[in-house]
């Protein structure tokens, strides 16, 4: 057991920090507010282009696709530093983490040539069309249909909560080609296809984040399908395993906790229950951090993380919750708009237990797979 970073890892982290120092504009914190806003999206395109040029967008991708085969630690250190800075990559983090690698594994040569280079250059934005009004945690019940129509498919249905949909170039869509879990297929759909309507959903979590996406007789060729008909569930499992650690949320939460305490100290308000609550939140951030590191450690040794990944996700939910609650109680001016970065963190933090899989579903998995409790009756 050893908790030290090696010199290569330290140097890499330092190089990412220097890149951020040199490339984030002075007004970045005001811009970071609203992860899917037009202002941030256009900034992210420029920023990701620069990251790509500096070799810092996809270091963990295979050399054949423009990466340098870096190990999982490199990818995670990069993700930590980006998220800690307020995620200047915007929605492109999805390309880097899982959409690109999924296409490398399952895409046809045409799909790979079309979609991977723009991701590697930081020039394209995707959205993830999974959730539907009637299918959230129970994703396998989704109803959006893709019906065969000669050499084409006709897609009809509705997606919801789709992040980045209004600016995305392409949608990674799940649609039903036949009944049951084994009847779901994946389609890669240009968002400017005829029949797609995107509506932004006003929300408490910032401008431009979540959307409804309607598909009315959207016609796509068979070549838009990723993998075989009915292969979605298998592919999704791979995708989710790439995403299992999730976003290194603890990194920003921990930084914002430091900032909140610093504001309190300056104002002479760091006292009484604030001291104990800051300790509790700090311990939760560090617990989440070590969980994530232990999972990356496994992955770097070629072990696919099991239910501990769910435990790590839940620890992260705890830390986001405690930091958010700390700020609301002790630095209320942040939510009144006086501290844009604390406000932006609040808006991101409150979805930690819902976005990319609800916390209670993680608890179900932990109970069954980690604790080995008898299963719930179905």
């Amino acid at each position: 057991m050893d908790f030290a970073w090696n010199s290569e890892q330290q140097a890499f982290r330092q190089s990412v920090r220097e890149f951020l120092d040199n490339n984030l504009p002075d007004n970045w914190e005001a811009l970071a507010h609203g992860p899917g806003s037009e202002a941030q999206t256009s900034f992210s395109r420029e920023f990701c282009g620069k990251l790509a040029a500096a070799g810092l967008l996809i270091p963990h991708w295979p050399a054949a696709w423009g990466g340098r085969d870096a190990d999982p630690w490199t990818a995670f250190i990069l993700a930590e530093e980006m998220w800690m800075a307020g995620e200047p990559r915007g929605g492109q983090y999805m390309n880097v983490n899982w959409i690109g690698p999924t296409l490398m594994k399952y895409g046809s040569p045409d799909q790979q040539q079309t979609y991977i280079p723009p991701m590697a250059n930081g020039q394209t934005l995707w959205c993830q069309g999974f959730s539907e009004p009637e299918s959230g945690s129970d994703l396998a019940s989704l109803r959006t249909r893709a019906d065969r129509d000669g050499d084409n498919y006709k897609i009809n249905g509705q997606k919801i909560w789709t992040s980045y949909a209004s600016d995305a170039d392409t949608c990674f869509l799940l649609a039903r080609t036949s009944p049951g879990k084994g009847g779901i297929s994946i389609f890669l759909i240009p968002m400017d296809s005829a029949g797609i309507t995107v509506r932004q959903i006003p929300s408490i979590i910032g401008e431009g984040d979540i959307h409804e996406v309607f598909f009315d007789d959207v016609t796509v060729p068979e070549t838009a399908r990723l993998g075989e008909e009915g292969q979605a569930w298998e592919i999704i499992r791979t995708v989710l395993s790439l995403e299992r650690v999730g976003i290194p949320r603890f990194a920003l939460a921990s930084r914002m906790l430091q900032r909140a305490v610093s504001l309190l100290k300056k104002a002479g308000r760091y006292q009484h229950s604030a001291i104990e609550q800051s300790a509790r939140a700090n311990a939760a951030c560090e617990a989440a951090r070590l969980y994530s590191y232990s999972i990356i450690d496994q992955r770097s040794k070629g072990i696919e993380p099991g239910p501990e990944a769910s435990a790590g996700r839940f620890a992260t939910v705890n830390c986001e919750r405690l930091v958010s609650e700390f700020v609301v109680e002790h630095v209320p001016e942040a939510l009144a708009g006086e501290q844009p970065m604390l406000l932006a963190h609040h808006q991101r933090g409150i979805v930690a237990g819902i976005a990319s899989g609800a916390a209670e579903i993680q608890l179900n998995l932990i109970a069954t797979e980690l604790l080995q409790l008898p299963r719930e009756p179905r």
Partner: protein, 303 residues
């Protein structure tokens, strides 16, 4: 960064497993609180386990692993302080160790050869004579409790050494708590898996499954933070680990008792061995308030 045990640590873990196996069930007729084994103590002593932290290829992390592992046994002895504090002070100090915090009763005080005396901000050390201490046989805590009755000569420790003592007491508390929490969860999971009500095992009810899952997430956090603190010896890491241990245990104790029903109230299930050891640790080093102050000083110093 590497969470796997190295070969030396694996060897210690396997030796400990072998040793611990002899102390892994309470006697059938045991209906008491403090289940202590002098034989366990002697075995650990004879096999050099109390020196792990000062051994070159082992270090404090091996001592923390051993402390966590041994805390999962129903039989106990004065282990944590001897493993994690003594080597940091002076490996030649006589053991058992115990702490008197602001005049309160403490664990293993009646048998201690070295007593750490915490009095507000001051920390001193003494070697009490038999007349200076007495046992408290009516204690509910599942450790032998004792108190100081005389006034032995106390040697004050310089500030730097006092800080070292606080840090390693915190690491010891977190490592021991990690083992206790794990044992309490294991016992409860077993109960939930076999006890049936409404025609099905209790463990199939989601209201209980989720609470147990939350407890186990906390348990993993306590464990990692304790090991990290043992590895770094940093005052901030130790304070965070100890805070998280005491905070998590507060919740776990309630949940495991609640889910064990009346059976958990008996002296037969052994649940009290874990929960009333945890309860003894909850107040140490000022409890959560004390750890918070330390976190504020160490982790938010630059905020």
């Amino acid at each position: 960064m590497d969470f796997a045990l190295n070969d030396d640590q694996l060897a210690v873990a396997s030796e400990l497993d072998k040793l611990a196996a002899r102390f892994d069930t309470s006697p059938v007729d045991f209906h008491g609180f403090a289940l202590v084994s002098n034989e366990l103590d002697q075995q650990l002593e004879e096999n050099g386990f109390f020196e792990l932290a000062s051994m070159d290829d082992m270090g404090p992390i091996a001592a923390a692993l051993a402390t966590e592992r041994l805390a999962r046994q129903p039989y106990t002895a004065e282990i944590a302080l001897s493993m994690l504090l003594r080597p940091m002070l002076d490996i030649n100090l006589p053991r058992p160790f115990a702490v008197i915090e602001n005049g309160r009763p403490g664990r293993f005080v009646a048998s201690a050869k070295t007593l750490i005396i915490i009095d507000g901000d001051a920390i001193g050390i003494t070697h009490p004579a038999a007349a200076h201490v007495e046992a408290l046989p009516d204690s509910l805590y599942a450790y032998p409790m004792g108190r100081l009755i005389g006034s032995p000569d106390i040697k004050p420790l310089p500030a730097e050494q006092a800080a070292t003592v606080r840090t390693w007491l915190r690491v010891a508390c977190a490592a021991e708590m990690a083992g206790l929490i794990k044992a309490a969860i294991d016992a409860t999971v077993e109960h939930l898996s076999v006890r049936k009500q409404f025609g099905r095992p209790l463990g199939t009810f989601q209201a209980l499954r989720h609470r147990m899952a939350e407890c186990t997430v906390l348990a993993g956090g306590v464990r990692n933070l304790a090991f990290k603190a043992a590895w770094s010896g940093d005052a901030g890491d130790a304070a965070l680990a100890c805070f998280h241990a005491q905070d998590s245990a507060t919740r776990v104790i309630y949940d495991v008792h609640q889910m064990s029903g009346a059976m958990g109230m008996t002296l037969e299930m052994d649940l009290h061995l874990w929960t009333y050891r945890m309860k003894a640790l909850l107040s140490e080093l000022g409890g959560r308030g004390g750890q918070s102050t330390a976190v504020a000083e160490s982790c938010f110093a630059e905020a």
